[in-house]
């Protein structure tokens, strides 16, 4: 019997209804399951709104996608972990018959591509490289080292990500810290964000304290953001804004602080056990995350992410971010707002059931989303060790929490469709708690200082598409986790994903609120 790789995991919507067997039930035997499944006739399914198609990878080709770029001509450039680079011509056609052409090979784990001035730039293990096919024969013939100031000791975990271009024309690269032994001794510039001038090759240190920054991206307004993975000195995965002079919490890279000059040379070693919200007392340059991804609830390893710049052609989430997760083989969604000068916001589930942990996302010219994956030696969900998939919007609008925004006295929820007012009016349908994280030397840490947030009142807008939540329990520096129950739209369709996790670094003041 063939061992077939079937497509997408089956429908998971019911997990929202908490029908997962509890341990107590398990102890009494699996037979008890059937009785506790609850189903509603109007249940929604992610696949009604977003499809997943799996590219058929030719035999003998290892498509461990680590870098992915839609070129100006619409072709998709795919960099693999083994260092091969394939050109997928017309990636918008039949996924059963893709034509992959080997563009070049032998790179040292390229984990990002950028097209600029006729070159393709990529961060390899040891250097920022640019390459091109000068004679037009379909393969690269010129490789130039743009900068190799960062070092590697030969540890597997010393990955580099990027580059991404900023408005000043510099290219940002984020560097992983090693994990485990360092065969050639301790290397400098590990756990940093640096930027490189592609014209001069000059490198500038930009931010310290990164751990495993597997995604880096330029926002539509020109700021740089990155995702970091839970681990030592990073109790929960996060999305953070990168600015010059930031400290993001991991001490490994501080061995390079003297070389980096001010302000980095003033950074003290962090004290393990400090609440991150209090870290500015130790280091005024400490940067709080924009969004925390609570462990397991919102994936385990956020990687590549993309802003939706399709102007509504990929569904109702224009301007928001899609964030891939390398463990849960799913994509999450993030909305950001700037509150008192800090970018912060909420994360939500979006689409699950991809074939393995996702490293890279890329929009195509036709507004479909390419999803490139490799488990790369990490455990995770799914039924394939690597591959390439494509997600398209069906044109149906899912009933979702579109945005959760902070208010001085609570939150505002905007939905993609009008809510059932009766359900939305019942306070019992809102469960909220808040918790925060410490900066600790241990590997990952718990949700700390957890408290229930009492929703005292709600107000539903006239059009039924937004709901204001009022509470006096807001805590700055805390994740506010919201779980809605029984929500449906006015057509009776269940809310597709009833959870939202808002990272409330700053509470907006009244003045800001009054501009609504």
């Amino acid at each position: 019997m063939p061992f077939s790789k079937s497509n997408p995991l089956p429908d998971m919507k019911n997990r929202m209804n908490r029908w997962m067997p509890t341990v107590a039930m398990l102890a009494t035997g699996i037979a008890g399951w059937a009785g506790i499944q609850t189903q509603t006739a109007s249940a929604a399914d992610e696949s009604d709104y977003y499809t997943i198609e799996t590219f058929n990878i030719p035999d003998g080709m290892t498509m461990e996608v680590g870098a992915m770029l839609t070129l100006g001509n619409g072709n998709l450039l795919l960099g693999t972990r083994t260092g091969d680079v394939y050109m997928l011509e017309n990636p918008y056609g039949d996924v059963e018959k893709p034509v992959f052409k080997l563009w070049t090979r032998g790179l040292a784990q390229p984990l990002g591509f950028l097209e600029h001035d006729g070159w393709i730039y990529t961060a390899q293990r040891g250097e920022l490289t640019r390459m091109k096919d000068s004679d037009g024969d379909g393969t690269v013939d010129t490789f130039e080292t743009v900068n190799d100031d960062w070092e590697i000791s030969g540890n597997y975990h010393e990955y580099n990500f990027g580059p991404r271009l900023d408005p000043e024309g510099w290219m940002w690269v984020t560097t992983n810290k090693p994990f485990g032994g360092e065969p050639y001794g301790r290397a400098h510039w590990r756990g940093w964000a640096v930027r490189i001038n592609p014209k001069t090759g000059e490198m500038q240190p930009m931010a310290a304290g990164l751990r495993s920054p597997a995604g880096v991206e330029t926002s539509p307004w020109g700021d740089i953001f990155y995702t970091d993975n839970q681990g030592e000195w990073c109790n929960a995965s996060k999305l953070s804004h990168l600015e010059f002079g930031d400290y993001h919490g991991h001490p490994h890279g501080l061995i390079t602080r003297e070389m980096a000059g001010p302000p980095f040379n003033q950074f003290p070693d962090p004290v393990s056990g400090t609440y991150m919200k209090d870290m500015k007392e130790q280091n005024p340059h400490f940067k709080m995350p924009a969004v925390w991804f609570p462990y397991d609830k919102m994936g385990k390893s956020p990687c590549g992410f993309k802003w939706d710049t399709t102007n509504g052609k990929f569904g109702p989430f224009d301007g928001q971010l899609f964030v891939s997760d390398q463990h849960h083989a799913w994509i999450m969604r993030v909305s950001l707002e700037n509150v008192n000068g800090h970018w912060q916001g909420a994360c939500y589930r979006f689409r699950e059931g991809y074939q393995c942990g996702i490293l890279r996302l890329e929009f195509g010219k036709d507004n479909s989303l390419f999803v490139g994956m490799s488990n790369a030696g990490w455990g995770g969900r799914g039924n394939s060790p690597w591959g390439l998939q494509r997600t398209r919007w069906t044109g149906e609008v899912p009933f979702e929490i579109h945005t959760m925004n902070a208010k001085p006295d609570g939150f505002e929820l905007n939905f993609t469709q009008a809510v059932d007012r009766q359900v939305a009016a019942q306070l019992a349908n809102y469960a909220m708690e808040s918790y925060t994280y410490k900066l600790e030397s241990r590997y990952g840490g718990p949700e700390a200082d957890k408290k229930k947030v009492n929703i005292e009142n709600v107000a539903i807008s006239e059009d039924g598409k937004s709901v204001r939540l009022f509470t006096s329990d807001l805590r700055a520096g805390y994740v506010h986790e919201l779980i809605l129950s029984n929500f449906r739209n006015d057509a009776g369709v269940d809310l597709l994903h009833p959870e939202a996790y808002y990272t409330l670094v700053n509470i907006p003041d009244d003045r800001q609120a009054s501009t609504d």
């Binding site: 699996i30 083994t82 090979r105 784990q109 597997y156 488990n375 990952g444």
Partner: protein, 934 residues
């Protein structure tokens, strides 16, 4: 007869009575039982339950007799065996302990039996008791093991990592005192030898098993004992070193070695004592560029002719009494050399020198002699004099027990009821106390009262402890059933302080302040699952009964090899009731029923475990082979440990069993991602994995697991060259390899901008970095490997014979930059780099020739050479370079063919090597080329 008027005793009495009186006020010395504190603060038990725990642990029924049922409920531990106490503890410490029981061991369980005695009478009684006890097996012998700072450090690390601090207080960290089992001033109490013996087998003298065996190696026990008794080193005469068994070593880090260095001119990175001649010394942090000097005193028991061997990669040398016996120096693969020497009886200075330049590292030393077969030198023959003599701080050698006093002491041992707890041959308990059933817990003069009678032992119980014990006695008097299984589990975990490490039913697990001491032995991506011992919820359902017994009582099936904390060993007789009870409490229906077993299912199971299935091998080892990503628990142990029913349920919802686990849920909501396999039944799919795992160590390897040494991802240049960036042994983490279809291969080092290695035949295995989470530095697959000179290809020198710049393996401080490469029409790379003011293009090309391909190196130079300096191309280096017809011959095997005129070429003697170098003149002659044949 009661002549107490020695000076010593008067002083002791005066001092200690005063101290005891002061101590009586502070009230801090109540008995500390971490399990009790845990239950009390976790607030999850009744006063009666906690009181029974105390009644048992404090040995109340040793005096207050109880019926069989009650006695079994209380499970009283056996007190320390004092039959040989005189050999283990100094008389002075015994004296101090009896004089001030609670002061000397703050929080100990032993009661003060002299709390109401008049000072003189007390001093007399104690002298009798001490003379009696120290004549049991005494006197204590001086330590034979000396201490070193390195031993203290290693012991400190062990103490704070293997699990000691789960129960005892860590050094310098504020932990909850009430949960720390107290340690007295051990340096005052005993010797290193005695403590080593105790640590290796704690239950020999403390049969209660409350202090379990941590499965220490002999050397670990010595380190730990020296650490615990480090106070003796401070007090010791540092000029009086003791001999310790072992080999003293000094470890040096020096890059670029090609011969044994002059150790005296170097600063050792570390010193210490080891037990074998090996490259595996503690804390070695690199695999290349290091050197070790071993020194020991060799004990020769028979005069005669001895022969010694060293086997090493790279060089080694063995000296005896300063004379070279084996010379195995120089850079070489593992090779064996030997030498003979005549040795007289007695001790001789043995010295083994070793260095490692790069590549593999090996060192072995063997000997043979009169009546001695060839083999390693037994450790008993080797001593080193780095230790400091250690002796108990209370030690006075002139103490001699008086036999008459000892006789009196033996009677007091019975009269004071010592023997009720501490059994002693030939001594019978006397003057019984009231039976437990007759106790009046409200008697103010009883053990629980506030106004103790002279005959009641003083435990210094807290009010909480007293009221819990009173509640327990009342309830036991009202009638007692045997403990329920659930209570048995909880009681055992409290008594043996399992809760210090393991959580069960919401109780226990390491205290917040102690978690930092639970670590992994290498960085491993497992979070706290890798460092904190597992919880024991459902343990009775999880484990097969025989497996749980082996885990707890035999030290077997401890599968978390990455965890530094060790699971201790407990005695079977103590744990048997617990084992029976936990399987009863956790029983799950049909838990042990084996699922269907068939070859087809094994095959499916194997596929599920492999990378095209759910890829268990990403995080789990299989049958001794490492996992691809994390090397987690080896799957081949699952069948012998786990119950099939539990396994099924666990795989369906791992996070329900281990919240926060890294183990993914591969059947979310019970649904499969593989609907075509086994009818899409999740149950059958998981059963198939079980069937596969049931093969244990004989399981065929699943897809994705490649046995060590296998070529997993061979790159084969067929029609055109393959350029491949990777990590490579002896080249570095920025190696750019090129394999040509002509079966010639090269490695370029982009860090030091040099051609580093040539070889013929097969090219390279890419799996060193391109599979799993690996960072293996692999060597060429082919043959005829030729290492090219270290240092950059080109240098600008003050003069032709100036020394060539050298660089460490990650250092790029040789004034150069790698600039990239272009591919010619045959896809052959042209490397571009800069060295100071010179821009260089290097174009290697294979040349087919009879006998195998050779390499043409073609260079194009541009830029300026600074005035007063000259630029040189390093063509080759070796110990012998001679001129031939068409060029030069290096070391008799590497031929350099070139048309570069002779007057542009120099042979430079650079001390250890000769260099063949060609003048670079970019303006007049921008191109240079030569051919390497080997």
């Amino acid at each position: 007869m009661m002549n107490l008027q020695t000076n010593y005793w008067t002083r002791v009495v005066a001092a200690m009575v005063l101290l005891a009186a002061l101590k009586a006020w502070d009230g801090t010395a109540s008995p500390v039982l971490p399990g009790y504190e845990r239950l009390r603060t976790d607030n999850s038990t009744t006063a009666e339950f906690r009181g029974e725990l105390l009644l048992g642990e404090l040995g109340c029924v040793n005096c207050h007799k109880a019926g069989e049922v009650v006695a079994a409920r209380l499970g009283t531990p056996t007190a320390p065996d004092l039959t040989g106490i005189g050999a283990r503890v100094t008389p002075q410490w015994l004296t101090n302990y009896l004089l001030d029981t609670h002061g000397v061991k703050d929080g100990g369980k032993m009661p003060d039996i002299f709390h109401s005695s008049a000072p003189q009478a007390k001093a007399g009684a104690i002298r009798f008791l001490v003379d009696f006890l120290s004549s049991r097996g005494g006197p204590i012998e001086p330590a034979t093991i000396g201490g070193t700072e390195t031993m203290v450090e290693r012991g400190r690390t062990l103490f704070h990592s293997v699990g000691c601090v789960a129960c005892h207080a860590p050094e310098g960290v504020d932990v909850s005192g009430a949960r720390s089992v107290p340690l007295p001033d051990l340096a005052a109490k005993t010797t290193v030898d005695q403590l080593v013996a105790f640590l290796l087998d704690p239950t020999a003298h403390r049969p209660s098993g409350r202090m379990p065996s941590l499965k220490l190696e002999d050397a670990e026990a010595r380190d730990l004992a020296v650490y615990l008794l480090r106070g003796q080193m401070e007090a010791a005469d540092a000029d009086k070193p003791a001999q310790v068994e072992g080999i003293g070593y000094e470890y040096y880090e020096v890059s670029g070695l090609s011969a044994i260095p002059d150790y005296d001119s170097l600063e050792p990175v570390q010193k210490g004592v080891v037990r074998e001649f090996s490259v595996n010394i503690p804390s070695r942090s690199r695999n290349d560029g290091f050197a070790i000097r071993f020194r020991a005193s060799l004990d020769i028991s028979e005069e005669g002719n001895y022969r010694f061997w060293t086997s090493s990669d790279d060089g080694s040398r063995l000296l005896i009494d300063g004379n070279v016996v084996v010379d195995n120096d120089g850079i070489h693969p593992n090779q064996v050399r030997n030498g003979r020497v005549q040795l007289s009886r007695g001790s001789h200075d043995l010295e083994v020198l070793y260095f490692e330049g790069g590549g593999e590292e090996v060192l072995q030393v063997q000997w043979a002699g009169p009546g001695i077969q060839r083999g390693p030198i037994p450790i008993e023959r080797l001593t080193t004099a780095t230790g400091i003599e250690m002796r108990p701080t209370t030690w006075t050698e002139n103490y001699r027990p008086d036999p008459n006093n000892a006789g009196m002491g033996s009677r007091m041992f019975a009269a004071m009821r010592c023997v009720n707890c501490h059994e002693m041959p030939g001594i019978q308990p006397m003057s019984p106390a009231p039976d437990l059933a007759d106790l009046n817990v409200d008697n103010p003069q009883g053990c629980l009262g506030d106004n103790l009678s002279r005959r009641a032992p003083q435990y210094r119980l807290t009010q909480d402890q007293k009221s819990d014990m009173a509640a327990a006695v009342r309830s036991l008097k009202a009638g007692a059933e045997p403990l329920s299984p659930a209570a048995t589990v909880k009681r055992t975990m409290a008594s043996f302080n399992c809760y210090a490490c393991h959580q069960r039913d919401g109780i226990g697990g390491p205290d917040e302040s102690r978690r930092q001491f639970f670590t992994t032995n290498s960085e491993i991506d497992l979070g706290e699952e890798g460092s904190i011992p597992p919880h024991l919820n459902f343990a009775g359902a999880k484990f097969k009964p025989a497996a749980l017994k082996r885990i707890i009582t035999r030290g077997e099936l401890h599968v978390r090899h990455y965890m530094t904390t060790r699971m201790p060993m407990f005695a079977e007789e103590h744990i048997e009731p617990f084992l029976t009870a936990i399987h009863q409490v956790d029983a799950m229906e049909n838990n042990s029923v084996e699922p269907p077993f068939s070859e087809e299912r094994i095959d499916f199971g194997r596929k599920f475990v492999g990378v095209t299935g759910v890829a268990c091998v990403t995080c789990h080892g299989v049958a001794g082979q490492k996992g691809i990503g994390i090397n987690g628990i080896d799957l081949s142990t699952a069948y012998s440990r786990l119950q099939p029913g539990w396994f099924q349920k666990f795989l369906l919802a791992p996070a329900d069993f281990n919240p926060g686990t890294r183990m993914p849920n591969f059947w979310p909501g019970g649904q499969t991602a593989f609907p075509d396999i086994l009818g899409g039944s999740s149950t059958a799919q998981i059963q198939s994995i079980w069937s596969y795992l049931s093969l244990g160590k004989t399981m065929p390897l699943p897809e994705g697991i490649v046995p060590e040494g296998t070529v997993a991802m061979e790159l084969i240049p067929s029609s055109q060259p393959i350029v491949h960036r990777t990590f490579m042994e002896d080249v570095g983490p920025r190696a750019i390899l090129t394999g040509y279809p002509q079966k010639l291969n090269l490695a370029f080092d982009a860090n030091i901008v040099r051609l580093a290695k040539l070889w013929r035949g097969r090219f390279f295995d890419a799996s060193g970095v391109a599979s799993g989470r690996t960072d293996r530095f692999l060597s060429p697959l082919g043959t005829d490997v030729l290492d090219l000179p270290a240092g950059p290809a080109v240098a600008i020198l003050d003069s032709a014979n100036a020394s060539w710049p050298q660089a460490g393996k990650t250092s790029r401080d040789i004034g150069g930059d790698f600039k990239g490469y272009t591919l010619d029409e045959k896809m052959q790379p042209v490397f571009r780099y800069r060295l100071n003011s010179l821009e260089i293009e290097e174009y290697p090309q294979p040349v087919l020739e009879p006998g195998g391909p050779s390499l043409k190196r073609q260079f194009m130079f541009s830029g300026q050479v600074p005035d007063g300096k000259s630029a040189w191309l390093l063509m080759a280096s070796g110990t012998e370079i001679s001129k031939t017809a068409g060029g030069y011959l290096v070391d008799g095997k590497v031929a350099i063919e070139t048309t570069i005129p002779d007057d542009s070429i120099r042979i430079i003697d650079d001390g250890s090597v000769r260099r063949l170098q060609a003048r670079v003149e970019p303006q007049s002659n921008p191109q240079l080329a030569y051919k390497i044949k080997w």
